[in-house]
Amino acid sequence: MTKQEKDIKVSIRHLYKIFGDDPQAAMEDVKAGMGKPELLETRQHVLGLNDINTDMRRGEITVIMGLSGSGKSTLIRHLNRLIEPTAGEVLVDGENILDWNETRLRKLRREQMSMVFQKFALLPHRTVLENAGMALATRGISKADFETEANKWLDRVGLGGYGGQYPHQLSGGMQQRVGIARALTSNSDIMLMDEAFSALDPLIRTDMQDLLLELQGELHKTIIFITHDLDEALKLADHLVILNDGRVVQQGEPQHILLNPADPYIEDFVADINRARVLRVRSVMTEGAPEGDISGEVDENDNLESVIAKAEGALDRHFRVMREGAPVGSLAMPAIMRALVPARSSGETAKR
């Protein structure tokens, strides 16, 4: 096993999900190459997920992004088997959880994976504290014993002192903080987040994204995050998987996808975002020692917007790129300008 394979926490292999009365029969057709519209027409079965293959690495945030109906919520529910696949494998630490019996699966859900939901899904008849300790209570730990742990995480998400309240007494953003505290209190190393911030208003959503990144900086959990919001995806993702119609359209490092969209669908998708704010210096710099006049130094993780501001808009500037204080490359303003123009996918270019 190479080091990289070892680092893979969850991986999905040839996963298919077909909704309908006789998915196995429909599966034959799909294997034979039938597409989603034909399957719906000839068999009245819906192809939910079509040959999904992806790896999620330990300690990283993997964002699965797609529009509604793309199968992203279906996909995340396969990871803890809230939905059973029609075919394929889901490997956690190298073991196929689809072979596990009920007891083992329950242990996985109780101890290894926790989940945060779009609509919070807190227990309305329990206090915030009891909600936060739900995973531990489910394992049979008494309230007196989980209280300290639950309070610790409630404090950590900014809800210290709210333990005695009921969920309906809190605002949406605070309820989702309880949802996150609940997932953290379970001490699982995998967190599934199903459109966790989609129901919140924009400012609170930004707060919550920052909170998640801050927590992740300390805790290094394996987070699988579902969203339909590209800005959110680009902000959070270490690894981005884009789904469309139940298929993985492109996956990889977000910056890479942005600069090299694989097909027109992704192009359309990334067309509307503020590239200057999302793209980082490291993605567009030239490696090697800078030549000629240097007008300043920038960090490799600065975004292009800040570099343009530093250059005061002038096009003849040339910067030295630093990584942890050492120079690693150079960046000229024309390269920045080129990167700001959306790249065309290889397919599209060929057509023209």
């Binding site: 809230l82 926790s114 939901f117 227990l123 008849h125 995973a135 394992r139 609940r182």
Partner: protein, 346 residues
């Protein structure tokens, strides 16, 4: 000539029809009238041609039984299995008789100055409302003042026992229904039937089964009639529990049991309590009818009012039942509201 006689003749069934007959036999009154009428020869016209019912066909062909034979068959069938049925149902329902007898004894033999404070205490415990406690005191006080105290206590005793048994069986049945679509498909028509069957009809087979002096006779009738809402609303309440919350319970690895007692029942409780309220109201309605089969209480006085045309007695007892109904309704509704509040407004 009867309407369908020619039909049987053309079908060649005449021999079969009259096989059991002994010659001319007797003539029925209807036949005689028909003969003297003179319409006999022509038979019915197309306009008033009779529907081929059992009775009409019987006239044309005596081998076909008249419809009274069908109901008689039902009677005889019931009487035939009565012994066996009694053997099973009698011991099973015996505890109901004991409970009713004991409860009636407790409620009527305990002095009023103990019973009334106990009822007020119960009201306080379930509602935490002084207003309702005062209301209980005043309404029972009025009933006692007009000498209806014992009858009212008897009625209350019957309702307490029957509602308790309805909840005891109704809630588990409702839970089972909510977990199995097949069971729900089977039970719902039965509930529909229990709910729409006229209350008097419950009493008919029960009178055949048990002796009229046994309390369980009316106990069973009341329970069958009143159990429907608690079953229905338990089933509905559990099915209406937020799917997202259930999914969260699954995602955190709750067992079916943890989910039922920790999530589903608590969240369905407002609906279940609404069912209990309806069950109590329906048992109160039935307890009056059950006085026909010796259920004691205010219903007996209502019945006396009807039987011997004692207008005042009937009206006052009826008014007493209204007071009890309001009392039970307000107390259960207030405790329901308390449950709602201690949870959330979902």
């Amino acid at each position: 000539m009867a309407a369908y006689e020619s039909l049987f003749a053309t079908l060649g069934l005449k021999g079969w029809c009259h096989a059991g007959e002994s010659g001319s036999g007797m003539m029925s009154m209807a036949d005689l009238i028909a003969k003297t009428d003179g319409t006999h020869a022509t038979g019915p016209s197309a306009w008033n041609w009779p529907f081929p019912s059992l009775d009409v066909l019987n006239k044309a062909c005596p081998a076909i039984p008249p419809s009274r034979d069908v109901t008689q068959g039902l009677e005889q069938g019931f009487l035939a299995i009565r012994g066996g049925l009694r053997l099973i149902i009698d011991p099973l329902t015996q505890p109901l008789s004991w409970m009713l007898r004991d409860m009636l004894w407790v409620m009527t033999q305990t002095p009023w100055w103990i019973v009334i404070p106990v009822l007020m205490l119960i009201t306080w415990v379930v509602t935490r409302s002084w207003r309702l406690v005062a209301f209980v005191l005043i309404s029972i006080g009025i009933l006692a003042f007009i000498n209806h105290y014992t009858a009212a206590m008897e009625t209350l005793a019957i309702i307490f026992v029957c509602a308790f048994i309805c909840v005891l069986f109704g809630v588990p049945i409702g839970i089972a229904m909510s977990r199995s679509d097949r069971l729900q498909r089977i039970v719902i028509p039965i509930l529909d039937m229990l709910q729409t069957l006229p209350p008097f009809v419950y009493l008919i087979p029960l009178i055949f089964l048990f002796s009229v002096t046994e309390p369980k006779l009316y106990g069973i009738a009341i329970i069958l009639y009143a159990i429907v809402p608690v079953v229905r609303l338990t089933d509905l309440g559990i099915r209406l529990v937020d799917k997202d919350v259930i999914e969260a319970a699954d995602a955190f690895g709750m067992t079916a049991r943890q989910k039922l007692f920790g999530v589903q029942i608590p969240l369905a409780l407002p609906n279940i309590m609404a069912g209990v309220n309806q069950t109590i109201m329906m048992s109160l309605a039935m307890v009056v009818i059950a006085s026909l089969v010796s259920a004691p209480g205010l219903g007996v006085l209502v019945l006396r009012g009807i039987r011997s045309l004692e207008l005042g007695v009937g009206l006052v007892a009826g008014f007493g039942i209204v007071i009890l109904a309001i009392l039970l309704d307000r107390v259960t509704k207030a405790s329901l509201a308390r449950i709602d509040n201690s949870q959330s407004r979902r």
